[in-house]
Symmetry: C2
Subunit: 296 residues, 2 copies
């Protein structure tokens, strides 16, 4: 299940030189990104493998469907090929980067214009952190229980606006919206309570047929990888608009993600079981029972 293999060995090394103190992208990591000019890239030290170039030069060899997906301008086609392919390509990249040097397939990361690495069809935001949900509940509903009765029974989530997901570092414009000061009628004004929540974003790489469920046992198999996500929030707009249908304009103006997707494969050594439920919490229904090592 945890898929730890030779690519996670701390003894593994690459021929790509690195002089800095802290290397976020050693050969054990190999995160994926997309840049405007060169298409799909994989980071290694302070360089990036340009997949298109490595395949055209014969340094990486794959079946046609994989090669074609890797030469595309987004990760969608590659992600749709599924977990076995992701692992296979990771192994081939590892071989290339730990074998005969071929620096001609690299580009310095600093020279890349990184973009959102996939066309995002849907974006779901889960209210996963209990402390955060409690804090927000106290803010919005000071006179009642901060957690709604459903919170300890099911994953609470909503759809965000997929088209306003942008890359970290992009300028975010302070949104205008409708707010209601406590003592007067609603007004249209710039947001005065701009906030951002630090979250992580998960790229679902391979989907399911409409009408078919995915069980908890199989869920992780569909996950390609993770990014850091900032969920920008206009709290004053949210407070006035969010009932009964949830946050909308308060969250629509921007969500920023880090450009590199760290794969579930790369995170294999860090997987563990989640924390136990608190005493007094209701039992989790069977269909939501966590499996071993499902927390990253």
């Amino acid at each position: 299940m945890t898929n730890i293999d030779h690519t996670h060995s701390l003894a593994a090394n690459t021929w790509v030189p690195y002089e800095g103190e802290r290397n976020d992208f050693p050969i054990q990591n190999l995160p994926w990104g997309v840049c405007e000019k060169n298409g799909i890239v994989v980071a290694i030290c302070d360089q990036a493998v340009v997949l298109r170039k490595a395949i055209e030069d014969g340094k990486l060899q794959f079946a046609d469907d994989i090669a074609c997906a890797l030469k595309d301008d987004s990760l969608n086609a590659f992600m749709s090929l599924g977990k076995d392919t992701w692992t296979h390509v990771r192994h081939e990249l590892f071989s290339m980067l730990s074998g005969e040097p071929c620096p001609e397939v690299l580009c310095p990361i600093a020279s890349l214009q990184l973009i959102v690495p996939a066309k995002i069809g849907d974006y779901t935001d889960f209210y996963a952190a209990r402390n955060h949900a409690t804090n927000v509940g106290k803010m919005f509903r000071p006179d009642s229980d901060p957690l709604m009765p459903n919170y300890l029974h099911l994953p609470v989530g909503y759809h965000g606006r997929a088209s306003s997901i942008i890359i970290s570092g992009s300028e975010v414009r302070r949104p205008h919206g409708q707010l209601k000061p406590d003592d007067s009628a609603p007004i249209f004004a710039p947001c005065k309570l701009l906030d951002y929540e630090m979250e992580f974003g998960a790229f679902i790489g391979s989907g399911n047929e409409i009408g078919k469920r995915i069980s908890m046992d199989d869920a992780t198999e569909h996950l390609f990888g993770l990014v850091i996500l900032n969920d920008w929030s206009a709290r004053d707009i949210q407070k006035w608009e969010y009932q009964p249908l949830g946050p909308f304009n308060a969250k629509n103006f921007a969500s920023t993600i880090s450009p590199w997707i760290v794969t579930v494969d790369a995170l294999a050594p860090f997987r563990q079981s989640g924390p136990a439920r608190l005493e007094g919490d209701p039992a989790v229904l069977d269909y939501l029972l966590p499996v071993a090592d499902d927390v990253f």
Copy 2:
């Protein structure tokens, strides 16, 4: 503003024969669809113009960017070209269908496998009908005001799941989900209160740059056209899950749309101003003030 022109004349006629009693698709309508085999099509009587064929045969002539968009497998590229192009193409189609007969560019509608006509990037569901919002409010919150305080001040909406929008007539599987019978703990079970709401769906054809607002005056210019939409809803799942973040699994399993998009251009003769606000309703803030003839 209302763009009524010769294509709306009731005297206009086409060479395409029609024997039936009620013609939903006369030459004044010309709705757009996409079929699996032939790509983009426009309905006329019980036939459909295959755009690819009409352009290849020289029966319709356009600049390269328009021709290329019309030969695509979805309407996205064409819709992104904007209102002037949509009107120009409507006029050319009208000329062709009222001019020299060229039945070779037609296919019987009955022979087409129609699909969702565009890649839908985001799907927003507005709670636009006051009576409906009042009824649902009474159902879910029998002991308080059925309309939330914000309802008469702003358009209340939420994002739906774009990837589960399917074509009318597709099979919809009854969803399982978490429900809470009034007198017991939550259970995981098939939905027992399956409902569907009759709505209309609007295709936004041309977008805006992130961070730039569209004024009420300009809003209709971005609308390509309308479809009928059924918003399938699992009311028992919704009742337990919807607070505080809005409907989620209760609406995610399917939303069905009619396959033909009736354009805003075709609806020009039917545009009118909306109903007046009820006595006692609060005033609408300036930025939301409706413009003339903005209701279809």
